[in-house]
Symmetry: C2
């Protein structure tokens, strides 16, 4: 069965392979949520306005080390991004698609 995983790229359509490669090659760096917000040129106040919450809620989210995927997705979408959940293995990484349909208006 492990063979199935390692042969995955061979089974993929060229378009899917290109898309995966294009998405993957733009990985820039690793940083916490507050640094990402600053790198996007956003203040806590601006993000709070987009999400219709008070500024302390944003500060709280940025300090958390665990949260619901839907909460994180809302937060990242408010910054203009998309949340990708990736399972990384020594022989390759897979994007987990279970959560693709999470509500875009999930509560904080």
């Amino acid at each position: 069965m492990a063979k199935k995983f390692s042969d995955l790229r061979a089974q993929m359509k060229p378009e899917a392979l290109q898309r995966a490669d294009a998405e993957a090659k733009t990985l820039l760096a690793e940083m916490p949520l507050n640094e990402l917000r600053q790198a996007r040129g956003l203040s806590q106040k601006m993000l709070a306005e987009v999400l219709h919450v008070q500024q302390p809620s944003i500060a709280k989210i940025e300090k958390r080390t665990d949260m619901y995927l839907s909460t994180l997705r809302s937060h990242i979408e408010a910054m203009g991004g998309e949340l990708d959940i990736v399972a990384r293995f020594p022989d390759g990484s897979v994007k987990i698609s279970n959560f693709a349909d999470l509500g875009k208006t999930a509560a904080l």
Copy 2:
């Protein structure tokens, strides 16, 4: 401030750049948790044993569309992988580091 984001790669050390590229280029495909488990050659029963839970708990996790990051991390680590949380923007992607220290033994 947006400049900071777009110039990020230029500011990175060569080692960090290489690591980001190496991690990124191995993205294989997109699939739900149950298919990933099968691709890893694991049954629900095997995964349940690793996580010290009953088999129905695994079935339940695989059907969820939202969950705590810590729960998902435990599930993926039980399959031998690592969870990466990525914020994808049109001009590049960033791995979110807030959750890197999530307990490896978080409850399901």
